[in-house]
Symmetry: D2
């Protein structure tokens, strides 16, 4: 028994590092660490830093919380990216961007993604599932930032580069909007603790 | 049989005009005309004209379609308001605004609505069900306009008046965003008809 | 300064207990404890116990986790109810049910709620915002249980009693579905910890 | 000018038939006919007939409308598939299924799709955007059918075949749920026309 378990662990290790395929006679089992790491690594590969997303958060929130620091923004972006629902959307969206960039999608999906077709809304749908993780209060922040495209969003949306970021720009805006919602919830908790010494504002976010 | 049917029709007529209550021993039956009329009448009662919503549509769409007319904007707002899903959201949202204004909601819902509490997002949820009627492409338009609050939205959002529009300002922005999505779909159809003589872009919107 | 703060605290205390109105010259400030308590108290008032919701969770999850205990189900229901987004939906939905029961809504919203109109979907929309808190994996559980109406849902859906639960039955099903999603996430974390000694499955749920 | 336009038309023609690539120096322009045809053709390629989807609709609706015919069910499935939002979801979902089947996705997305991972919910998210096209009343029908997996859904969900239908089974269930919502709206219109001679139930669905 002990032995089986240790073999199992070793295989998990290998699969985690991507050194063996999922179907190589090892029963599939989700590895949350692998999923979390792939999410951050894909964002990095596509040229997006967490600091850039944190800057979007600052743009959205500084007028409400003048003392908000970049460190807090970063911390909240990080918390958003640790959510499974967010990771699934990031992995799926960037995968589709990369396939479109390589020309490996079927027509007409290929052309719709390559041209960021205005009547194609699956990118917004994925973005939405990200925003939703911290509730409906983030909807407007997402829409606002996605329309104005400040900071990193302007670069991601630049069509002249040959890079396809049809999903990524929406995803990055959504992560920033979700982080903003998280900040709003936590600032409320802080305020209540300051005034009343306690809070029932949910701290598991 | 004929007689029963004509009585039934007469009762429908009365209920439609609101002259008899739904529970007065008449089996309930939805009356779509009554629902449609109540939607428009409540918007009117709360001081919102369809022309003002059409102006929001123009703000959102004129840069994409320079020849867009106010008449087209109005026609699209009208089409959005004829959707059952939209009517349900309008009736429910304005009802909650009115009850909050009269102080007739239970605490703490009363205070949350009266103060347009930032962590209360049911208004955004209803707005979202309106935008969704024309698909996910309208999400960003809604968020953008809800944040900038141009035109009628500025007035609706004025907290000094004593009037409570916690739901209404989101609803009006959502109707404008949905109308914008509808325009995008129809302009595509028009373009295809112009170039190829035909379209399979869905015209039932 | 100190004095102002202590007065502020005292007023908060009174408002928290509902002893003073929100508009009585005290600046509004959200009280998360009040919101949380009102949520549980309204569910209780409408005759729904957390144990009954936990039973729905057991129905949904026992085939996946044969060792699942009622205690775990209860704990997960409790966690769902501590989420602000869920509390907002519960407070709003039950408020509308109560107003419909008292006949205090405008026609035709009054008749649509009183008759659980099939083409009225705002109850489903609120339910959905609850399910969404733990991501999209809960959608099917909600739909399934809402259709089959086991346990407490059958009672809530009984139209003969004069009680109106148009929103409540959807809300209760949604809370059970959300708790099921939370269990799925946590069981994955437990499994990973067992096999690999660690997990990055998000534990803040 | 005239000449340019006729060349443009000819190129459109060729691209429509898939005979030239989108990037062959022709400005991109969405072709709704191509999108509509690809949707139906991909469903066919993956072994799903419209008649099978219509059977799911019949399962969902026969108890409410005993006289419902298979012809009506088919007609409503057809109408759902003519919606752009639905086409986008079908094209994207089947594309991801096919890529997973070929092993062409990045790890861990590859393994999550290949194993229909329970904590991956993007398939439900896409399904949801389909259901939403006819409003929130379809949510429960989708969840119910997705859980019970009658008819074609059982076959699609059979993991033993080597075929990957992680997205397709949700999509097919969602199309059936949306068609059911459409029927509910239209039957209401028919009823009102029968009783009162007219309806304002929206007929553009």
């Amino acid at each position: 028994m002990k032995k089986v378990q240790s073999i199992c662990r070793a295989l998990q290790q290998l699969r985690k590092r991507g050194e063996i395929m999922a179907d190589a006679n090892i029963p599939y089992s989700l590895n949350s660490k692998h999923v979390a790491e792939a999410t951050r690594s894909l964002l990095h590969e596509r040229g997006v830093t967490l600091a850039e997303i944190a800057e979007l958060v600052m743009i959205l929130q500084k007028k409400y919380y003048p003392n908000l620091t970049m460190e807090e923004c970063l911390e909240n972006v990080d918390a958003v990216l640790s959510k499974r629902e967010v990771q699934n959307a990031v992995l799926t969206g960037i995968q589709l961007d990369k396939l479109a960039e390589e020309g490996n999608l079927l027509s007409p999906l290929q052309e719709m993604l390559a041209n960021d077709e205005g009547l194609y809304g699956v990118d917004e749908i994925l973005a939405f599932s990200i925003v939703n993780v911290y509730g409906s209060i983030g909807f407007t922040n997402y829409g606002y930032i996605d329309k104005l495209k400040p900071g990193v969003l302007e670069r991601l949306n630049d069509k002249s580069s040959g890079v396809i970021n049809t999903f990524l720009d929406d995803i990055v805006g959504a992560v920033a909007a979700a982080a903003s919602s998280r900040i709003a919830h936590r600032k409320q908790a802080d305020l209540e603790i300051e005034v009343t010494g306690t809070t029932e504002e949910d701290k598991n976010l």
